[in-house]
């Protein structure tokens, strides 16, 4: 069986984020990208499904940080590493990424495509349904458990209120993973370093990116502080007296 894991790289929220001078996007000069967390789970789910006859290909958009992400995936057990190249310097939305994935997907012909169900930089839906739409494949999202039997996948989809729906999907299909059945595994640094020396990254040129259909941003800004709370100081009695006055002023009492 062939599994393709399509991952996204998103801004690392630990680092300070700055707004670019244009005011419609992030300043990418100091931006550090990180593997989107649900994508880490999508990879883990693929690894959990892996047996001797399974071949896992991980495809990442061509940012600088993709190398590290892909070599780490190889150290965890991915078989093939593909890095989409060109045109990613300015970032890309899900529409552009889904279109960029079309070529490699039709080349690999995977039985199963796993993606993270969402990413924190998604504004208009996620990669999975867009890719499924382009490839004319079924899609199930919010999946937190997956098993494969003879050309079919059984997915456990999470609903709000703690409900789980179990559904069967014919393969090939695209699945949006919210959480893998086990937490993403740890891989020793020495193993990743070994992969850097021995594994091959296959560049896959995708030409110009087409972000069409996505949202156009008017303005991006940091949360602005609204009117602050007033602190009442003094002894307990003074505070109580002042509090009653304030409440009366506000016409609450």
């Amino acid at each position: 069986m062939k599994i393709m894991v399509a991952v996204k790289l998103v801004p690392d929220l630990v680092e300070n984020l700055e707004i670019a001078p244009g005011g419609t996007g992030l300043d990418r000069t100091y931006l550090r990208l990180i593997l989107s967390e649900p994508d880490e789970h999508a990879l883990e789910q693929a690894l959990l499904l892996k047996d001797e006859s399974t071949d896992i290909t991980v495809v990442a958009p061509g940012f600088e940080e993709a190398d590290d992400v892909l070599f780490t995936a190889a150290a965890k057990g991915a078989d093939r590493l593909v890095k989409l190249t060109d045109g990613f310097q300015e970032g890309c939305n899900c529409h552009a990424l889904a279109r960029a994935l079309r070529g490699i997907t039709s080349e690999i012909q995977p039985d199963l495509i796993l993606t993270g169900v969402q990413a924190h930089d998604d504004l208009d839906g996620s990669l999975g349904p867009l890719l499924a739409g382009l490839l004319n494949l079924p899609y199930v999202g919010n999946v937190a458990g997956l098993s494969i039997t003879e050309g079919k996948a059984t997915a456990r989809k999470e609903y709000s209120g703690g409900l789980i729906g179990e559904m069967e999907i014919g393969l090939p299909a695209v699945i949006g993973i919210v959480a893998a059945e086990a937490p993403p595994r740890y891989v020793a640094v020495s193993k990743v370093r070994q992969m850097v020396k021995s594994a091959t990254l296959e560049p896959y040129p995708v030409g110009d990116l087409d972000p069409g259909g996505g949202i156009e941003l008017d303005r991006m800004y940091k949360p602005e502080s609204v009117e602050r709370a007033t602190m009442i100081e003094g002894t307990a009695e003074e505070i109580a007296v002042r509090l009653i006055e304030v409440l009366k002023e506000l016409d609450v009492l």
């Binding site: 630990v14 990180i34 740890y186 020793a188 640094v189």
Partner: protein, 746 residues
């Protein structure tokens, strides 16, 4: 001996005397006949009764010839055959070991050297493992008596694979060792179907002699009986078992032995064989079949095939859930050999199994595999089992075991860290630790803070703390600040105090700021050596860019790594801990230490400053220089200091360790700090303060207590612990630097 008879001869004569008279002799009569004193006879009787069956009847002693078999004389080749047979016996079922040991001892005497001493050697190891099960011994005695004296015996017999107990009255004809198992079988006529039946002696759970004597049928030859039908001629049906050994080498080994009388071997064209035999109970063959591993395929019967494939399946499951941990004896050996190749590796072989390491380990009582047991497991080739335990994550790498080991085995850095490495390599890491390791990888610090903000603590100072990158000139001191000192809000207070001290002493210093990375020492001691190397290389590259006289750090782990570990990676710079530096400049400091700190101060020796690097005096000298401070010692002090619990990854395993222990080492330490002062003040005689008698005791009750520390892990750990320990609310936890600055009046 002067009486003409050697002891050996006397004992032989005594034995033959005892066997010669059916009535027996009194001690007096024996003494007369042997020409020795009665006490000698007593002693000799005592001695030979260990080896020959001496009976006592009132005051008469005798040997019933039926009770023992007399000695034999053997040719050389006969003695070799006997030796080989006896060696085989050594591996026999444990409940037989008691009579076996005695039999071996006697037979060993009839053999030539070196066979005799080799057998005695086997015997000694056998005696060590000798279980004492008087019940089993009694059953054996009964069965043997019934066999020899031809008395029917009533037995309670547990049928194979069930819990049903059947009663049989049997006439035992002969004993036979198991073919494929280590069991012993008893073949006898059974009262119920008057036919021969085989009983596994292990499953005979009671045996009582009856009063019925029986005659053994003429021409009863075990071999003839067993040749045609091994086991259970009277009982159930025989089932044909058909096995295939494809591998020619394995087939060769199968061919060399007759495993079951009446077995048939058919050759396959490719050098393999088909092995066919008829047995009453196919499942008795299971352990034997399993022993061949994948080399043996089961064709018939179907139920056996099912059972073996089931076992293979479950074996597969185990491997899945265990990851790829070394399981086999060979892998155990490989790990042990690898360990011995490391520095000081030759010392592992010197382990005495004294258990000092497990005893001194602060978490040893919680570990199912403390250091001693891991070494035992390695020697027993069962290291795989030790790796199944997550107990090694209780190791706080505090070096107590290494320090106490009489064979000076590098237990902390060698053994325990290597075991952790083995787990890290297979991804078996507690999730808290995983976060810290991933953070260290990504952000260069285990706290997961942005690298760019590593120098952010400097902003609250009114004077600038220079960055190496901005200074553009050589400095005296490169201050390696460290992770917790840079980011942790409580430890930042200490860091700021240090900066002020440097400033006050006009130290020419600078920091690396965002160019500094975690020192990696604790990650290394948590088994992530690859990560340690990456971090050390990054720091090495930063050091290389600048010129400086020496590195100073307040972090004992950074100090240890830069001093002892980095040079192996080609990063070699002089480094000192700040307490060493301040102690050296005590003459400059002392005049400024004007403000009294009236308190009982207990100093906690950090493991990697004290025990590992031998720095005990400097911090104490600094504390003693502060007016008002009365230095007291905790019950664990200096090389015997108790770890704060943060080492070896413990800083990032708090939840894991708390769940196992239900208590934190830092809490123990806080209790010790509250009780400190019972011991004499330790210090050079000239500086020791005069005893103050009763007033002193009263003062001690009222005085403030301070736990002084010199490691960035400790202030937050001990402050948290003081909140949870009853009565420790008043304990102040202060870094030595904070106390110095306070005494200066800032």
């Amino acid at each position: 001996m002067s009486r003409g008879l050697s002891k050996a001869t006397r004992l032989q004569r005594l034995e033959s005397l005892l066997g010669s008279s059916p009535e027996g002799y009194t001690v007096r009569q024996l003494a007369e006949r042997l020409g020795v004193h009665r006490t000698t006879v007593w002693r000799d009787l005592n001695e030979i009764s260990c080896e020959v069956p001496v009976r006592q009847d009132g005051n008469l002693y005798l040997i019933d010839p039926k009770d023992y078999v007399s000695s034999v004389r053997l040719s050389r080749s006969e003695s070799l055959i006997l030796y080989l047979a006896l060696r085989r016996l050594v591996r026999w079922p444990s409940h037989l070991s008691s009579p076996l040991a005695l039999a071996l001892q006697k037979l060993a005497r009839t053999l030539r050297e070196p066979s005799a001493s080799q057998l005695v050697g086997s015997l000694q190891s056998l005696q060590q493992h000798m279980p004492t099960d008087p019940e089993r011994a009694r059953i054996w005695e009964t069965l043997i008596q019934a066999w020899l004296e031809r008395i029917s015996v009533r037995i309670s017999y547990l049928e194979f694979g069930s819990t049903v107990v059947c009663e049989h009255e049997i006439q035992p004809h002969f004993f036979e060792p198991g073919l494929l198992t280590q069991g012993v079988f008893l073949v006898g006529s059974c009262s119920c179907h008057q036919a021969l039946k085989t009983f596994s002696v292990d499953r005979i759970i009671e045996a009582v002699l009856t009063t019925h004597r029986f005659e053994r049928p003429d021409g009863l030859a075990p071999d003839t009986i067993l040749e045609s039908q091994w086991v259970d001629p009277g009982g159930g049906e025989l089932t044909e078992v058909h096995l295939r050994f494809r591998d020619p080498a394995t087939a060769q080994r199968v061919r060399h032995t007759v495993w079951i009388p009446g077995e048939r071997i058919e050759d396959l064209p490719d050098g393999g064989i088909d092995w066919i035999a008829r047995v009453p109970d196919v499942f008795e063959l299971l352990p034997w079949i399993r022993g061949w591993g994948p080399d043996c395929e089961v064709f018939e019967p179907a139920e056996l095939q099912e059972k073996t494939s089931e076992m293979e399946q479950s074996r597969g499951d185990v491997i899945m859930t265990m990851g790829e941990l070394p399981q086999t004896a060979a892998e155990s050996d490989a790990f042990y050999a690898d360990l011995q190749r490391s520095s000081d590796g030759d010392r592992y072989r010197r382990c005495l199994q004294c258990g000092s390491c497990s005893g001194i380990c602060p978490h040893g009582f919680l570990m199912d595999y403390p250091p001693r047991r891991i070494l035992a497991a390695l020697r027993a080739q069962s290291f795989g089992e030790a790796l199944q335990s997550d107990g090694v994550w209780m190791c706080v790498a505090c070096y107590a075991c290494s320090a106490v080991c009489p064979a000076m085995i590098p237990l902390t850095e060698g053994l325990m860290t290597r075991v952790k490495q083995e787990l890290v390599q297979t991804g078996r890491v507690p999730s808290e630790l995983q976060d810290a390791l991933e953070n260290s990888q990504r952000y260069g610090n285990p706290l997961g803070k942005p690298q760019r903000q590593r120098g952010a603590w400097t902003k609250s100072l009114e004077f600038p703390v220079p960055l190496m990158s901005q200074l553009g000139r050589p400095v005296d001191i490169l201050w390696f600040v460290g992770d917790y000192a840079s980011y942790h809000p409580r430890v930042q207070v200490v860091t700021i105090a240090l900066a002020r001290l440097f400033h006050l002493l006009d130290v020419d210093f600078a920091i690396l700021g965002p160019e500094e990375c975690s020192d990696g020492d604790s990650q290394r001691l948590a088994g992530e050596h690859g990560l340690f190397e990456v971090l050390a290389e990054k720091n090495g590259q930063a050091f290389k860019k600048y010129q400086f006289g020496e590195i100073l750090t307040s972090d004992p782990h950074a100090y240890n790594a830069i001093k002892n570990e980095y040079p192996e990676l080609g990063v070699s710079y002089p480094v000192r801990h700040v307490v060493e530096y301040f102690a050296e400049r005590l003459d400059d400091l002392s005049p400024r230490l004007t403000h009294e700190i009236e308190a009982l101060v207990a100093y906690h020796d950090p493991c990697y400053l004290g025990r590992v690097n031998g720095i005990y005096e400097e911090p104490r000298a600094l504390l003693r220089a502060i007016p008002g401070v009365e230095l007291v010692e905790m019950s664990h002090t200096r090389s015997n200091s108790l770890c704060c619990g943060g080492g070896g990854g413990g800083m990032w395993l708090d939840g894991f360790q708390w769940e196992k222990a239900g208590v934190r080492l830092s809490e123990w330490r806080v209790r010790e700090a509250m009780a400190a002062g019972g011991l004499e003040t330790i210090g050079p005689p000239a500086q020791a303060k005069p005893k103050r008698g009763k007033r002193h005791e009263e003062k001690r009750e009222l005085q403030d207590r301070i736990l002084a520390v010199a490691c960035p892990y400790e202030a937050p750990r001990f402050e948290d612990a003081a909140k949870t320990v009853d009565g420790a609310g008043g304990l102040a936890v202060r870094d030595v630097a904070e106390l110095l600055l306070e005494s200066i009046g800032q």
